[in-house]
């Protein structure tokens, strides 16, 4: 009897959170799943004319969606390894210096507290071609004798480059923060032992440092993958809201457009696209976990 009473009490404590999560997370999730199978659903009249896989078929054949998938995958494949790698290099550097470390740490952390759109504006100034100027980056390219490129409205690779550059720059501070603290938490005795044993630096790095911080690297890769798959605002900040026209849409951008954009008012297509994204992220995360079992020291 006592147990039951305690159980009840426990559930009572959990009730606010359960209610909140239920109404704002679980119910919408189920709803999205339902929408994605309801063909021709109209949110105004709350009607639909059939149940089936048509929404998925439509989305998967929509050239805009395929473009968005391609963009998203490129973004993920390029930015996650590049940002993690550079963050690791910078963290190692920060860990190795003593004077000015705090200053550099602050500088590297600044992008993290800067607004996405403000950063976007700065990138526009750096990269955008206008009637008056080619942008700072183009000036530098010309300086070295290259042809100026329109990074914002120009060729696909140039736009992709800017988007990746921007993403790497935005996600870097957090990774540096995590990695510097991971590096600092490695017991210095390991390095002393390694030094006494005349261990070459590269071997210290690959055999001691890297395994020791591997859980953190793994954490960054997983969250990096998930974050990059959900990219949207970065593209908007650079290329404006009509991403389909710019050919720079992402999967989340596609979902948003289907709900509210110029082509808006298709919640069923949006739901189907969202679920496809969910399946992709789930698969990638599972693969990551499987790989990590072999390579991450715990």
């Amino acid at each position: 009897m006592k147990m039951k009473k305690n159980d009840l009490k426990g559930w009572l404590y959990l009730l606010p959170a359960i209610l909140f999560l239920g109404v704002f997370m679980v119910y919408p999730l189920i709803d999205v799943l339902v929408y994605s199978f309801e063909e021709g659903y109209n949110s105004a009249s709350q009607t639909y004319h059939g149940i089936g896989l048509y929404n998925y078929a439509y989305v998967l054949h929509d050239p805009y969606f395929l473009q968005a998938v391609r963009n998203t995958f490129l973004l993920v494949i390029i930015t996650v390894p590049v940002s993690t790698g550079i963050a690791l290099l910078i963290s190692l550097g920060l860990n190795a210096i003593k004077p000015l470390r705090d200053l550099f740490q602050t500088i590297y952390f600044l992008p993290y507290v800067t607004n996405t759109l403000a950063v976007g504006l700065v990138f526009m100034i750096l990269f955008k071609k206008t009637a008056y100027t080619d942008g700072l980056v183009n000036l530098m390219i010309q300086w070295f004798g290259g042809q100026s490129v329109d990074f914002i409205d120009g060729p696909y690779w140039a736009k992709m480059f800017v988007l990746c550059f921007y993403t790497v720059w935005v996600v870097m501070p957090f990774k540096i923060l995590i990695l510097t603290s991971a590096l600092a938490s490695v017991n210095p005795d390991y390095y002393s032992v390694a030094r006494l044993d005349a261990t070459p630096n590269w071997r210290i790095f690959t055999k001691i440092t890297l395994p020791m911080i591997s859980p953190m690297i793994f954490y960054l890769v997983i969250t990096g993958f998930i974050g990059a798959f959900k990219a949207y605002s970065d593209a908007v900040a650079l290329f404006g809201t009509d991403l389909n026209a710019a050919g720079m849409n992402t999967i989340v951008g596609y979902v948003y457009d289907m709900l509210y954009g110029n082509s808006g008012g298709y919640p069923s297509f949006a739901s189907a696209a969202a679920l496809i994204l969910f399946v992709i992220v789930l698969t990638i995360t599972c693969v990551n976990l499987l790989i990590s079992k072999k390579h991450v020291y715990r």
């Binding site: 017991n187 005795d189 390991y190 002393s192 032992v193 390694a194 030094r195 006494l196 044993d197 005349a198 261990t199 070459p200 071997r203 055999k207 001691i208 395994p211 020791m212 020291y297």
Partner: protein, 370 residues
Amino acid sequence: MKIVLKNLTKVFPSRNKKEGGEVIAVNNFDFEIPDGKLIGLLGPSGCGKSTTLNLICGLEPPTSGQILFGDDDVTHLPPENRGVGLVFQNYALYPHLTVEENIMFPLQNLRGKDKLSKEEMRERMLKAARLVQIESLLERKPSEMSGGQQQRVAIARALVKMPRVLLLDEPLSNLDARLRLQTREEIRRIQQETGITTVFVTHDQDEAMSISDMIVVMKDGIIQQIGAPQEVYDDPANLFVAQFLGTPPINTFDGSVKDGLLYVGDKAILETPGVKDQPVSVAIRPEGFIPKAGGRFVSHLERVEVMGRDTSVVSTHPNSRNTFIRSIISANSKLVKDGSNVTFDLYPNKVFIFDAETGARIRFDLKDGE
């Protein structure tokens, strides 16, 4: 390989920037560690013993002075070229590597003419593992082993590269009491089998006394006394050394010397020929008491603790600096009570007197046969 420390000094800048100043962790060390011996660096925490170890292995550069291994001056040699094996207090085994990989690690670093083939490495690894008796645990990770086993792996890893000198930093402090006894004998055995000059650091006098060939007692960065454990115990150079060595600790009293007699309170307890009249600190080892009717040392009995082999008599004395005086007497001898007091005679060689101000030993002549 003998180790010679010449005027070795290490000064650290003070942590407290406002006050400034500096901390002298190691103050003008001058001694020689003979080849193939086991040396215990002994002292309370903060006395500079770990710093001394770091100086010997090269992890810290000395402020001044010289370190020689044999005839080589290694003072300015980086640690990796000194050929020292160091076992850390926390063992510092690489947690992601197995025992085998841990022991192999130093060998895989060898380059150039020292480079070993896979078979040679395995051979050496097995030899080291056999020496510390962990050959059945090679596949384990450090987290899957007990503290004592980890300790052995750490020693094997330090020995596998055949160092000239083995250094152990508080080797037993992370082990439980039972394992500690076993492991210290193990360290002694390994040291004797390999014949490698070994220095270990400890704050536990039991540990140092039981296995060292020689102990170095330190306090505040200054060497207090160097010698064989028994020698140092029987003939302490000053009050600090007398108090630091021995369990139960030595009993100390305020006393004075007058007309060749040693007084504690108003009672003369011992003849001290040749000592001029002065106030002194008196220290009596617990085993220095002989129960005797009409004995000259009288104290107030508190209780008797029976420990099997012998008996510990706990008593009080107004001039004692400790709350209780502990005397260890053989279980066979009978305590002599005089009302609520107990009376003892003293073994003169278990009684030490020290300058009341400086704590320096004041020697007196022992009568023949005592």
